[in-house]
Symmetry: C3
Subunit: 330 residues, 3 copies
C-alpha cells in the first residue's frame, strides 16, 4: 500500500504515504476546479498501472516499496489526460505510457548510475513526449491541449511580466508554480503540495517555495511573459531543482546552499531554452528543465558538499535516490 | 566472401550468405519495379565500401566475417540514392556515408556495450541523417525525394486509414512493411525478404510478419494515414523490433513473448513520434524508432527472460549481437 | 597567471600563455574592426569568470593551471555578446554562461572519459545554446544577431560559391575560417591565431590551415553558399577537427594523417547538417560539428594510430586532453 501511496510523494523526493495522499488531494482540487476531473483519475490510473508494472516485471521491491515505481506514472497519467481528449484510445495510450515509465526508469538508471546521477522524472518526460507526439499523427488521438507547432517568435517587451501588485500575488504566483509541478495551475493545489512536503520534510518545503519564487521573480527580472509568470509556469522546474539540490543530493552547508540557489536560477534559463526548443513541435517542456539542470549540477561531483549518504539519516530517507551502482541484472 | 554476402542479411540479424543474396534480390526487384535501378547499385556499393572499410581500418575480423561491417552500409547506400538524385557528388556522399557507418558502429558499440545494448542500425540512421541534411545546404546535392520541411500539422480523421477490403490487402500491407525495412514499397520485395529469413531462421520470419502486422493494424486502430498504412510505412520499424526482441535478444518463453509483443506495439507510437519530430527538418525516420524502442526494452535487463547467451546455440548464431565488453582497443 | 593567459590558447589545444595573448589580440582586432569592441571585453570577462569558477569550486588545479578552465568561458563570452545586445541583463547572462562552462566541462568529462574521449568545446556549445535560446523568451534579452528561425529552404545552384578569383582570395578565405573559430570574420584575426599556433606548435598551425582550406574548398565543390564560403563559415569547424585529429589525439603516421584528412572532410558535411538542424531554432552551430565529428573519429579507438601518450613528449603538452579516468570525486 505504501508503494502506491508514496508514489505521488516521490515526484518531490518524499517516501511518505501521507504526503502522497495530500499530493493526490492537490491534484484532485486542481482538476475539479479547472473542470477536468478526469485529470485526477488519470493520475490515479497512471500511479496504479506504473506500480503494478513494477510488480509484474519483478523489479527490485525495495525501490517499489517507497513509491519509486509510481511517481513517473502519476505524472504521465496527468500529462496524457491533460493534453489529449479523454477518449478510449487516449486511456489506452495513458496505460501504455504509465507502464513504460517504470521500466524506462530502471533502464535509464542502469546507465546514469555509473555517473552518480539518477534519471529523476525524465522517464515521465521521455515517454510522455513520445506518446504525445505520436498523437499528432494518429487521428484517433485528439491532442486537444497541445500548443500549435510554430517557429520561435520574437518576444517584445510589452509582453513582459510586471511585478506583483499585492502581497498576495507575490505569494500566489510561487504557490501556483508549486502546483504546476503536477500541471495544476491552482494556488490551492500548490499549498496542498507544500503542506504535504512540510509533513515529510520541512527543509524540502522551504526549498520548494524558494525555488518557485526564484523562478517567478527571475522571470519577471528577465522579462518573461505575464501569462506564464501568473500561472506559475516559470516556478515549477526551479522548485524541483531547489528540492533536489537543496534538500536531497547534498549535505547542508553554506557552499551547497549557494550551489543550490545557483542551480535554481540556472533552471529558469534552461526552462526558457527548452520552451523554445519545443515550439516547432508544439510539445510542453514538462519537467525536462529540472532534470537537465540538476544533472549538470550533480555531474561535476564537486568537493564543496559531499553527496548525501544515508547511513546516519533519519526519515525522510532518500537513500534510493543515491544509488550509484547497477543492482538489478538478469 | 561471406563477409560481403551476409552483410545485407545482418540488417535483420541473420549471419547467412544465402539470406543476404535473397535480400539483395528483394532490393533489386523493388528498385527496378519502381523505376530506380540505381538504388540497387547503391545498396551494393554501400555494402562493398562499408565492408572494405572494416578491412582497411583493421577492425576485429570475427565481426566482419559474419557480415557486421556491411549491413549499415547497405542501408546507407539505399537511403542516399533513394533520397538524393544520382549525380557524381551524390555517389561521393554515398561512399563517405557507407564507409563512416562502419567505424561509427565500432565507436557507438564501444559506448553501448557497457550497458548491454548494441548500436543496431543506428550508425546507418545517424550517418544518413547527417549527410542527407547536409545535402539541403549544398547546391551540388539534390535532395530530390526528401519531404519538404514543415511544422507538424493537425491530422483529421478523414485522413485515417480504413481496414483492408480484402484478404489479400490484409497480407499485402504487412508484406510491404517488411519491404520497407530496406526502403522498398513492393510486397514482392517483402516476400523475398521473408523467404530469406525463413531459410536462416523461421522464428525470425514469423516475428517479422507479426511485427509488421501489429504496426499496420495498430496504425489502423489509432487512425494513421491511409497512404502510410498501404505502403507499409507503419510496419517496418515494428517488424525489426519484433525480430530483435522476439528472436534475437531474449530466450523464448511466455514472458519474453509478451514482452516482445509489447515492444512491437510501443514501436508504432515511437514511429509516429519520430515522424513528427523530424517534420520540421524534412528527414525520414529511417529505422530510428526500432533502435530507440529496442534499447528501451533491453536496458532494464529484466529477469523475465535472460539475454540470449550463445554457448548452446546452433546457427543462426547471434553471439556477435550480445557482446557486452569493449574488445577492440588500440 | 598562466591559468588565465593559456585559457584562450586551449581553444585550439595549446597550453601556452604567449599563444593565448596572440589569440586575444586576434579577437580584439576582429572585434574592433567590425565595430563591436564589446566582444573582446566579453571574451576577457568570460575567460576570467570561468577561470575563477574553477578556483572557487576547487576543481583539480593541474587542469586549471594549463588553461583548461578558461577556454570554454572565453568562447561563451564571445558568443553571448556577439548574439545578444550588450545590456546589463546580457552581461549577467554572460557571467552565468561562462561560469557554467567550467563545471559542465568537469561533469561531461566525468562521462566521456570512460570512453576515451574529451568534452572538447562542447560545454561552451551546450551552455551557449541554452542561454541564447532562453534569450528568445525573455524580453529583457535582445537576441540582436541570432538568425530568424525558419524551416530549411531548398538551396538552388545560383546561390552556390564559385572558385576564388585570385591567389589572395584563395588564402584569405581559409584565414577567415581560422578567424571564425572565435567568431571573427577578419582574415587578420585568423592570421594572428595562426601565428599563435606556430609559436606553440607548428604542426597544429599547419593542420589548422589545411583544415580550414579543406572545409572551404570542399564547400565550393559541393555547392555551399558564396557568402558563407567567403566569410570562412565552412572553415572553422574542419580546422578544429584537423588540429584535434592531426596534431593532438593521434601519433603522426601515414595512417593517422589520412584519418585526420578524412575526419576534416567529414566535418564539412556535419557542419552543413548542423546548420540545417538548427535553422528552425535560429541557433548558430558554434563548434558543435567539430565536437561531434571528432568524437565519431576517436570513439572507434582504431589501431591505425595509438592515442597520444605524453610520457615522451616535449611541450606543447597535451596530456590533459588524454585523461581517460575520472580523477575528481567528492
Amino acid at each position: 500500500m505504501k508503494a502506491l501511496l508514496a508514489g505521488p510523494a516521490q515526484i518531490m523526493f518524499q517516501p511518505s504515504a501521507i504526503t502522497g495522499v495530500l499530493f493526490v488531494a492537490g491534484i484532485l482540487w486542481g482538476a475539479i476546479s479547472s473542470g477536468h476531473a478526469e485529470v485526477a483519475l488519470g493520475a490515479v490510473v497512471g500511479l496504479v498501472v506504473a506500480t503494478l508494472t513494477g510488480y509484474i516485471l519483478g523489479l527490485p521491491a525495495d525501490e517499489g516499496e517507497v513509491g519509486l515505481w509510481g511517481f513517473n506514472g502519476t505524472l504521465a497519467g496527468i500529462a496524457i489526460i491533460t493534453f489529449l481528449r479523454s477518449t478510449p484510445e487516449a486511456w489506452v495510450v495513458l496505460i501504455l505510457t504509465a507502464a513504460m515509465t517504470t521500466w524506462v526508469r530502471t533502464g535509464l538508471n542502469n546507465i546514469s548510475s555509473a555517473y552518480g546521477i539518477n534519471s529523476l522524472t525524465f522517464p515521465f518526460v521521455l515517454c510522455s513526449w513520445l506518446f504525445l507526439s505520436a498523437s499528432r499523427i494518429f487521428a484517433g488521438l485528439d491532442e486537444v491541449a497541445l500548443s500549435h507547432p510554430m517557429l520561435p517568435a520574437i518576444h517584445l517587451s510589452d509582453w513582459a511580466a510586471t511585478a506583483p501588485s499585492s502581497v498576495w500575488e507575490a505569494v500566489e504566483w510561487p504557490l501556483r508554480g508549486i502546483g504546476q509541478i503536477m500541471l495544476q495551475e491552482s494556488w490551492v493545489s500548490g499549498a496542498l503540495f507544500l503542506v504535504g512536503l512540510l509533513i515529510s520534510s520541512p527543509k524540502a518545503a522551504l526549498w520548494a517555495f524558494i525555488g518557485s519564487a526564484i523562478g517567478t521573480y527571475g522571470a519577471i527580472w528577465m522579462g518573461g511573459s505575464m501569462v506564464a509568470v501568473e500561472s506559475g509556469l516559470y516556478g515549477f522546474s526551479p522548485a524541483l531543482t531547489a528540492i533536489a539540490l537543496g534538500a536531497v543530493f547534498y549535505r547542508p552547508s553554506l557552499g551547497t546552499t549557494l550551489w543550490a540557489l545557483l542551480g535554481t536560477l540556472a533552471t529558469l534559463f534552461v526552462q526558457g531554452a527548452t520552451n523554445i526548443f519545443l515550439e516547432p513541435l508544439g510539445l510542453p517542456a514538462l519537467t525536462a528543465p529540472f532534470c537537465l539542470t540538476t544533472w549538470l549540477f550533480l555531474l561535476p561531483r564537486l568537493a564543496i558538499g559531499a553527496l548525501h549518504t544515508t547511513t546516519n539519516q533519519s526519515p525522510p530517507d532518500h537513500s534510493h535516490w543515491h544509488k550509484t551502482s547497477v543492482e538489478h541484472r538478469s
